[in-house]
């Protein structure tokens, strides 16, 4: 086993602390000295990945800048949003302190609990926006499916890590059943966006578990064959409409194609350098539906142009690559699979949202991580990123304890 190498910036006693200790100024201010020392030791002790944190905060900052414009320059919106981001980052850091074995310990229980809840949603669910997604527990309304975006890769990573790898045929079948049952339940709600995210998260774990290429090829063929069946038996009319609209948005410019067209107009009018911050007209004039949520990328692309998109996509790519790097060097089998699956799910988020906004994917309600204004989605993403950091930093944490 590789020996643990503590990272200098995180756990080593830095020159700053030494200087503070030596500083004569603190002789007069004992309280302040202890406060700073306490704070620094806390920062030193908490586990986090500075590279990931840096890129995430940059994206969040861009999200606030774009949101300020999209919200018609509402300072209140920015304050609320910044507060949410702060809470979300705190949540992420809190999760990062949790030992990763805890995630896998609760994984089967969480998974089972949510599947039961999904069934409950079908029986007692609250009808919101024409879809049965919400479960009202009296004090809080939440979407059980949302939990599965994390619960699914956790469950599969836990399960596959206990089996010989690469997975044997029987294990693959069991894993596929674990993926299929909740996915079907979510599709029936109907919530295609969440179902796609949950399913891909599970399949990514299988992929990283070393699934034989023959199986991968088999999946691709099976999905190709299933697509027409989905079209005729599973998908709802509004979902079909969105798909059809994708191929010809101009067929119904004020109906189904409206979102796509308005979004493409906003992006296209941005050009290479954009029309400038706060200068975007499409978003400010309500042409863009949900400018601060699902379609915030269009607002951003109009104002900052292609160059802005290159920057933003570069940051997302950096986050994903960092996540894959963490996975590649993670110690535990379950941890590395989970880390890789989380990174790729993050990619799916960005791709589905951006693809919808630039008009190459149908309109599906998937938010853009750290840019879209939204409650539960942000919480899920930040918990996932917290897990990623936990997986990254656990080695140094454990090494310290030893």
């Amino acid at each position: 086993m590789a020996t643990e190498q503590p990272k200098a910036g995180i756990s080593g006693r830095g020159p700053v602390l030494d200087r503070l200790n030596r500083s004569s100024d603190f002789g007069k201010h004992e309280g302040a000295k202890w406060f700073f020392l306490g704070l620094l030791s806390l920062i030193r002790r908490i586990n986090y990945d500075p590279v990931l944190l840096f890129f995430l905060m940059l994206i969040a900052a861009i999200g606030l800048v774009a949101g300020y414009s999209a919200s018609d320059q509402s300072v209140i919106w920015v304050e609320k949003s910044a507060f949410r981001f702060a809470l979300a980052f705190l949540l992420m850091l809190a999760i990062a302190q949790v030992p990763q074995r805890f995630f896998f310990a609760i994984a089967p229980w969480l998974f089972g609990f949510v599947v039961v809840l999904l069934v409950a949603v079908h029986l007692f669910g609250d009808v919101g926006k024409g879809a049965q997604r919400w479960l009202d527990l009296g004090f809080i309304r939440f979407q059980p499916a949302e939990i599965l975006k994390l619960g699914m890769p956790m469950m599969l990573a836990w399960f596959l890590a206990r089996r010989p790898l690469p997975p044997r045929f029987l294990d693959v079948v069991i894993a596929l059943i674990l993926v299929a049952v909740p996915t079907v339940l979510i599709v029936m709600q109907p919530d295609l966006g969440t179902a796609i995210l949950v399913m891909t998260a599970g399949l990514f774990v299988l992929f990283f578990a070393g699934l034989s290429w023959w199986y991968v090829l088999g999946f691709v063929l099976a999905i190709s064959a299933a697509a027409p069946l989905m079209w005729f038996y599973v998908m709802h009319d509004y979902q079909k409409e969105r798909v059809l609209t994708l191929f010809n948005p101009m067929a119904d410019p004020l109906g189904a194609g409206y979102h796509t067209i308005q979004s493409m107009i906003a992006i296209g009018s941005g050009g290479i350098w954009g029309v400038g911050w706060l200068q975007g007209t499409q978003s400010h004039l309500n042409f863009l539906p949900e400018g601060t949520t699902d379609f915030i990328l269009a607002v951003y692309a109009e104002e900052f142009g292609l160059m802005g998109l290159i920057l933003l996509f570069g940051l997302y790519l950096a986050v994903i690559w960092r996540g894959l790097y963490i996975a590649a060097y993670a110690e535990s089998t379950a941890g590395r699979m989970l880390a890789a699956a989380i990174s790729m799910t993050f990619l799916v988020y960005v791709f589905v949202n951006a693809g919808m906004v630039i008009g190459i994917l149908p309109v599906v309600g998937v938010p853009l991580p750290l840019m879209s204004y939204g409650g539960t989605a942000l919480v899920t993403i930040m918990i996932a990123l917290g897990m990623l950091m936990s997986i990254r930093t656990q080695r140094s944490f454990l090494g310290h304890e030893r």
Partner: protein
């Protein structure tokens, strides 16, 4: 160690190795797959950026244009229509602010409560309220929706009082075309109405964006270009639902020009009152300028009915009225001129040498074409005896003019009357003018494919038969007679004054021969219109236009005939004789005799125009008939 043991150990070692190998292998696979995933991520972002570049670089211009169209709307500000004034500066077509209550549904706190309040305050019936609710349902929530138009001051006051409880309800003003003199000037001034498909074909639609009204008849139509003005534009920024966010640019409209008519409303009122219950027309013209001072056509209608769209019931009533109030009897209707053509015939006879003004002619009870048994009878059964030209005009001697016409023939007659302006439009600035008709053998062959009969020449000599004139043409003829050949095109708008070439006769004295005959019509004891002799000197000519032909041996008895079959009464005249200031033509349908019915009408008009009638009575009559 036995072989068996050695084999077992080897098995165990191999299994251990394989487990180690498996772990190693799965890690190798994992790292390869992570690398693959990293490449997939790169590929995904490349695809996204490639697509974004396509939108933002290749199609940038296209989408920029679409964005611009998305964003700005051009709203039209319609111009204010020019007003129309009479000669005395009275407004005859006005723009009056009317007030309407409207509601913006999204601004209302409690729409249901507010609607029931509005129903009470504005006394809306249930149907109206139902209709209003429908319009609110299907309209856009931020667009004002009309609740009631033409609010009374009381209703406006109530709404103002209830304003705090009626958020979203507002009172807006708009301009409505109003004709204060209603029926009096309906045919001349005309009216405006909503633009329809037929109108769209004759106008530049760009100039009429946002305009409600367009001139449909009369001056309103003729001077549409002047009155309408030019619309202004407001470029505004709107959001996706069409709500105005910001005004970017305003080009103010250019209001239409006001028009001043030559008409005098009180004179018009006098003329209308003088005509009384007769259908017909009165046209008064200033012979020295061609200015039309009065132009009455009765019965009339209220043009205000047409402004905001006439109801089907009202329109049917107007169309089915046997008196045909919409028909303009001054310029569109044509009548046989009857004896009023005789002065012109006399001039033709003098001009072409068929008459010696002093030569006496024996006029018996009838005229016969040589070799024909038909009797062309005189209006006076016993005839007029020996008459010269002056007496022939004074007594309206039919036989004298039968003889003249027969000797002259139709062609010179046609030529002279046409030269005089009959049989063609006077060119007045009104739409719908008829040209009338001066018959000729050529015309008859063309339209009826029949030869011309000499008898038709004979009756044409007294203005019967095919000959047709408008009342305006009669007034114009009178003006030319009054001015001894000088003429102006009749005109309604003060700023225009078109002189037309004068009529030159072989001897200027011919004019006076005829004019003096007309003078004696009123001022000699034998004149047909001697009863209208006035303190000033009037010259004129009476006439009757035959509605039906009396059988050869029957006599004409007015009392026995239904009013419908009475002859039309005609009179033309000008005054003062020595310095003509006014020329009048009167046509009273089924009025019986020109002297008894039409001449007094002209007298009243002249009296007023020349200041011989006190203003007070005028006012009374004007109110009664003008309204």
């Amino acid at each position: 160690m036995s072989i068996r043991e050695a084999i077992r150990d080897a098995h165990i070692n191999r299994a251990y190795d394989r487990r180690l190998n498996d772990r190693h292998l799965s890690r190798q696979i994992f790292r390869r797959r992570v690398l693959l995933a990293a490449l997939i991520a790169l590929l995904v972002f490349t695809v996204l950026l490639w697509r974004a570049a396509f939108l933002q670089v290749d199609r940038h211009e296209h989408f920029s244009e679409m964005a611009e169209n998305n964003r700005t709307r051009t709203l039209v500000i319609p111009p204010e229509r020019g007003r129309i004034f009479d000669d005395g500066g009275r407004v005859v077509a006005d723009n009056v602010a009317t007030y309407q209550a409207q509601i913006v549904p999204e601004d209302a706190d409690d729409l249901k409560r507010e609607l029931s309040m509005l129903q009470q305050v504005l006394k809306l019936d249930d149907d109206t309220l139902h209709d209003l609710k429908e319009r609110i349902k299907f309209g856009r929530s931020f667009d004002p929706i009309l609740v009631k138009s033409d609010l009374t001051p009381v209703e406006m006051a109530k709404l103002a009082q209830l304003q705090p409880w009626l958020p979203g309800v507002s009172v807006e003003s708009s301009l409505k075309r109003v004709y204060p003199y209603r029926q009096l000037l309906a045919h001349v001034v005309g009216y405006v109405g909503r633009i329809n498909v037929a109108d769209l074909k004759r106008i530049n639609a760009d100039l009429y964006q946002g305009t409600q009204y367009i001139g449909k008849s009369g001056i309103e139509r003729e001077y549409e270009d002047v009155l309408h003005g030019k619309p202004g534009f407001k470029t505004v920024e709107v959001d996706a639902v069409g709500r105005v966010v910001k005004v970017l640019k305003v080009v103010p409209p250019v209001a239409g020009q006001d028009i001043h008519l030559t008409l005098d409303v009180p004179l018009q009122g006098i003329a209308a009152a003088a005509l009384g219950s007769y259908s017909g027309a009165v046209v008064a013209e200033d012979p020295t300028t061609g200015a039309i001072k009065a132009m009455v056509s009765r019965p009339s209608f209220d043009p205000n009915l047409f402004v905001d769209g006439i109801s089907h019931k009202n329109y049917q009533a107007l169309l089915n009225d046997p008196e045909r109030p919409l028909f303009d009897r001054a310029i569109t209707a044509t009548y046989p001129p009857g004896s009023t053509i005789k002065p012109v015939m006399a001039l033709a006879g003098l001009q072409y040498g068929f008459l010696d003004p002093n030569k006496k002619f024996f006029a018996g009870p009838y005229f016969q074409i040589p070799g024909d048994k038909h009797h062309y009878r005189d209006w006076r059964k016993w005839g007029h005896g020996w008459v010269d030209l002056d007496q022939a005009i004074t007594q309206s001697c039919d036989v004298y003019f039968y003889d003249l016409a027969y000797r002259m023939g139709i062609d010179p007659m046609h030529a002279f009357l046409t030269e005089f302006g009959l049989g063609r439009k006077t060119g007045i600035d009104l739409p719908g003018e008829s040209s009338g008709l001066v018959p000729s053998p050529e015309w008859k062959r063309k339209t009826k494919n029949l030869p011309w009969y000499p008898g038709e020449t004979v009756i044409a000599g007294i203005g019967q038969g095919y000959m047709l004139t408008t009342v305006l043409q009669l007034a114009q003829t009178t003006s030319i007679l009054a001015e001894s050949g000088k003429r102006y095109r009749p005109w309604l708008v003060a700023s225009n004054k078109d002189k037309e070439p004068s009529i030159e006769l072989k001897s200027p004295s011919f004019w006076n021969d005829v004019r003096h005959g007309m003078f004696d019509v009123i001022n000699s004891p034998h004149g047909t219109a001697r009863r209208i002799a006035a303190p000033y000197l009037i010259a004129g000519k009476t006439g009757t236009a035959q509605v039906f032909t009396v059988a050869q041996n029957a006599s004409y008895n007015a009392k026995d005939l239904a009013k419908k079959l009475h002859d039309h009464a005609v009179f033309i005249g000008f005054a003062p004789y020595d310095d003509p200031k006014i020329a009048v033509a009167v046509m009273a349908e089924h009025g019986g005799s020109g002297s008894g019915t039409a001449a007094p009408v002209a007298r009243r008009v002249m009296d007023y125009y020349l200041g011989f009638e006190p203003k007070k009575t005028v006012k009374m009559e004007f109110v009664k008939h003008g309204d």
